[in-house]
């Protein structure tokens, strides 16, 4: 069974600074995807960034980047130049590559990290 662990229940960062959120996962699969989702107080789930396990290059999306260490099963999210609007719950999620083992793309989530950006 796949598991996702986020060891930091809460974090805070000053506006304009950089923060890193940790995520580790456990799987015996070799083909999978990793995601970071953001859930602001509005409750909407928003995809922040995605990483394919077969890609060695770390994904980046503007101020968001990941450090993907496949051997260590680690997938951390770095937020640069933090903004007040980054205040949210952040969820790390894992998905087996579709069409493997009957998966239809179910996301397995970590318990989340509550990030507060302070002015």
């Amino acid at each position: 069974a796949q598991t996702v662990t986020q060891s930091q229940p809460e974090m805070s960062v000053q506006e304009a600074e950089t923060v890193t959120l940790s995520c580790t996962y456990d799987t015996s699969e070799s083909n999978y995807y990793l995601f970071w989702y953001k859930q602001p107080p509005s409750r909407q789930m928003i995809l922040v960034i995605r990483q394919e396990a077969y890609k060695q290059q770390n994904a980046t999306e503007n101020r968001f980047s990941v450090n993907f260490q496949k051997a260590a099963k680690s997938f951390s999210l770095k937020i640069s130049d933090s903004q007040l609007g980054d205040t949210a719950m952040y969820f790390c999620a894992f998905m087996i590559e579709m069409n493997y083992g009957g998966s239809q793309g179910n996301l397995i989530f970590g318990k989340g990290t509550k990030l507060s950006v302070k002015p």
């Binding site: 409750r43 719950m89 579709m98 793309g105 996301l107 397995i108 989530f109 318990k111």
Partner: protein, 116 residues
């Protein structure tokens, strides 16, 4: 032009009642999902469904049943509601197979269910 919509956004009901939450997606996706987010914010898959197969998380009580009248809709029916069913329920969709398949799931806004 909301991609994934859910109704209602809030639902307050008494124990023992039967209720439904509706979900619609206008993205043309072939697979839809229901997730439950509990009071500690933990999100867990309940069902995934495409026009061929329903996959049920084994931990979901059989009081919960998804019903899909067509490819764009996946409604969630809950019978004999219990206090522990109080949660936020999210619908999502993605394109799993064929041309244009990718791995992003688009989520609805969620339905907060409160059972009294």
């Amino acid at each position: 032009d909301t991609a994934v919509s859910q109704t209602p956004k809030y639902l307050v009901t008494q124990m023992g009642n039967d209720k439904s939450i509706k979900c619609e997606q206008n993205l043309g996706h072939d697979t839809m999902y229901w997730y439950k987010q509990d009071s500690k914010k933990f999100l867990k898959i309940m069902f995934s469904y495409n026009n061929k197969e329903l996959i049920i998380n084994e931990t979901v009580p059989n009081r919960f049943s998804p019903k899909s009248p067509d490819k764009a809709h996946l409604n969630l029916h809950i019978n004999s509601l219990e206090l522990g069913d109080s949660a936020v329920y999210f619908c999502a969709s993605s394109q799993v197979s064929g041309l244009g398949s990718y791995n992003e799931q688009f989520f609805g806004p969620g339905t907060r269910l409160t059972v009294l």
